[in-house]
């Protein structure tokens, strides 16, 4: 049985306020449809994991949330993503830049700018035209602390970001995403390029982060999803198959597709 998404949303609604709600979302790269009628309600200040076999559309879905697809021609959305139950962030009347100031993103490969550690984090404020030094200093420090990086870099703020290790670079990218105080942060397989130690570090960091921000994360690793997500969605061929509390999804998956994926025979 494919869990009806509206039912799911009803049930989740009663437990946590909903931060963002995807409603009948279709997505096309040119002529090819990659997302098919996605319905998903993302609970506030929880970690929601997107799982599924390679090519099922996880990244595509994630990038709808900050309108990254708008950067390329011929990409088309249909449907809505409601932020705080009010604003449809896919609406053509909403400026994608405003959306991106409220919804941060961390990419698969650490991608710091070839600038100093400080400037990397401050960039999100600089683009908004904020230049007051004390203001920037304060926000940069807070973001680096949230990203559990402050103690490692507080004496190296002027150094090039490339001097940091891979795991530190990824946490720097997290700080860069946090500095504007976003409502929601999107992570696309943030640890897949990292060693197990750095991965553990970042997972621990996310557990702490969820006190202040809603997290939506794509992950390839079932163990990772099981370890730290609160809710988990399973996608298959552009459709959302099942969306549940993580413990429940892993303990008693409803859909046969989910069952076989979790047991390792699909994907």
């Amino acid at each position: 049985m494919v869990t009806s998404s509206s039912q799911t949303m009803q049930r989740l609604d009663s437990q946590f306020p909903i931060k963002a709600e995807v409603r009948s979302l279709d997505f096309y790269y040119g002529q090819s449809q990659v997302l098919n009628d996605i319905n998903l309600a993302i609970p506030d200040r929880q970690i929601t994991a997107l799982m599924g076999p390679s090519g099922c559309g996880k990244t595509t879905l994630l990038r709808c949330f900050n309108r990254m697809h708008d950067l390329y021609p011929n990409n088309r959305y249909r449907g809505e993503i409601l932020l705080d139950q009010r604003h449809n962030i896919l609406s053509p009347t909403i400026d994608p830049i405003e959306v991106r100031m409220r919804i941060g993103m961390v990419f698969q490969k650490p991608n710091p700018f070839p600038k100093s550690v400080y400037e990397n984090v401050a960039y999100g404020l600089r683009v908004q035209g904020r230049t007051q030094r004390s203001d920037l200093d304060e926000k940069v420090e807070a973001a680096l602390k949230s990203a559990a990086l402050w103690h490692e870099v507080k004496d190296r703020l002027k150094e090039p970001a490339f001097n940091l290790s891979g795991g530190q670079q990824q946490r720097l990218c997290i700080a860069r995403a946090l500095v504007t105080n976003p409502d929601l942060v999107l992570f696309d397989e943030p640890t897949s390029a990292l060693d197990p130690m750095s991965t553990a570090h970042i997972e621990e960091l996310m557990r702490q982060l969820k006190a202040q921000v809603t997290i939506l994360i794509v992950t390839h690793s079932l163990q990772q999803a099981a370890r730290f997500s609160d809710y988990a969605a399973f996608m298959y061929l552009g459709k959302l198959v099942e969306f549940q509390k993580t413990t429940k999804l892993f303990a008693e998956p409803q859909d046969p597709l989910t069952q076989s994926y979790l047991s390792g025979s699909v994907g």
Binding site: N66, M68, L71, P73, I97, E98, R100, M101, G104, M105, F107, K109, N111, P112, F113, P114, Y123, G124, R126, V127, Q128, P160, F162, C173, R176, A177, V179, T180
Partner: protein, 313 residues
């Protein structure tokens, strides 16, 4: 003994075939080496021969501080090198902003359709147009239409046209080499397209852009035919007015309207004289011109190396 056993593992047939393959490899290596040697040796021989023929004049300071003269032993390249410097400055000031802006527009803003395809093909073709054609165009447009006269300004603009395609193409290539990941990282925190270009794409690709520009300029500095077409003087015994003045407003633009000559034209002029002593002058001027070009190219290589440091993807 062990070795003998090891090659026993390979059948004689395979062994023979391996021998042939290695021979072919060696053959190509030798051919490539010879080709490179021929090219390098010819160039080196030309330069050394020229420098040696010109040495009697090069070794005198007056060669650089004297105007052209009917008497070969008193003739110098002052007007020519000052002229080259001024013309190249105008070329750089005109070609760089226009070329870089056009490159940015084509690469970052223009939608990809048949029109931009057409423009792209045309820009590439422009790089192959013979320079004398640019000279004719400039004669019609700058000299007769805009009434710039046969001046430094006209020459600078003509050479700017000439190198514009080079600047545009290298700008586009440099911009294209910036990974999409970096752009997306900037967009993801709410940057506008202009901010992404101005804060990231341009600073990270400036090395490549400058390199291409300097190589274009070093081509312009040796350019002769288009400047003869627009009417550069071959004999000139005064300098344009200095751009910097002792009294307010301290800068003067008179030099832009001044008649001029440039290094390659001076050289051409001397080469065409029957008096063999002028050939020495020509060789000396050629050596100076060659040095200018090599210095500019060397500077381009240095810049590329310097500006790429600390940037890796």
């Amino acid at each position: 003994m062990l070795a003998a056993k090891f090659s026993d593992l390979i059948t004689p047939q395979l062994g023979h075939q391996l021998h042939q393959r290695k021979l072919l490899n060696l053959g190509f290596m030798v051919m490539g080496l010879v080709a490179i040697m021929v090219a390098l040796f010819t160039l080196a021989a030309l330069i050394i021969h020229m420098a040696m023929s010109g040495w009697p004049r090069l070794s005198t300071w007056e060669f650089f501080t004297a105007f052209a003269s009917r008497r070969p032993e008193r003739a110098g390249i002052l007007a020519a090198w000052v002229g080259s410097l001024l013309v190249i400055s105008v070329t750089a000031i005109v070609a760089v902003p226009i070329g870089v802006a056009a490159g940015i527009y084509l690469e970052e803003y223009a939608r990809k359709n048949w029109l931009s395809e057409l423009i792209e093909i045309n820009v590439t073709n422009l790089a192959g147009v013979p320079s004398i054609i640019y000279g004719l165009l400039a004669l019609g447009v700058f000299v007769y239409e805009f009434k710039f006269g046969r001046s430094v300004l006209t020459a600078g603009c003509t050479l700017a046209l000439l190198i514009l395609p080079i600047v545009i193409v290298t700008t586009r290539e440099s911009l294209r080499s910036i990974p999409q990941m970096i752009r997306e990282a900037a967009y993801a925190v709410g940057a506008t397209q202009w901010q992404v270009i101005w804060h990231h794409v341009l600073p990270y690709s400036i090395g490549g852009i400058l390199t291409g520009t300097i190589i274009g300029l070093s081509r312009a500095i040796g350019e002769t035919s288009s400047l003869i077409t627009i009417g550069a003087l071959t004999f000139i015994a005064f300098l344009p007015e200095s751009p910097f003045q002792g009294k307010p407003p301290f800068v003067s633009w008179e030099w832009l309207n001044s008649p001029f000559t440039v290094m390659p034209i001076q050289m051409f002029n001397w080469v065409s004289r029957p008096n063999p002593e002028f050939q020495v002058n020509a060789a000396a001027a050629g050596t100076v011109l060659m040095t200018m070009t090599l210095l500019m190219n060397g500077f381009a290589i240095y810049l590329r190396y310097r500006l790429r440091q600390g940037i890796k993807w």
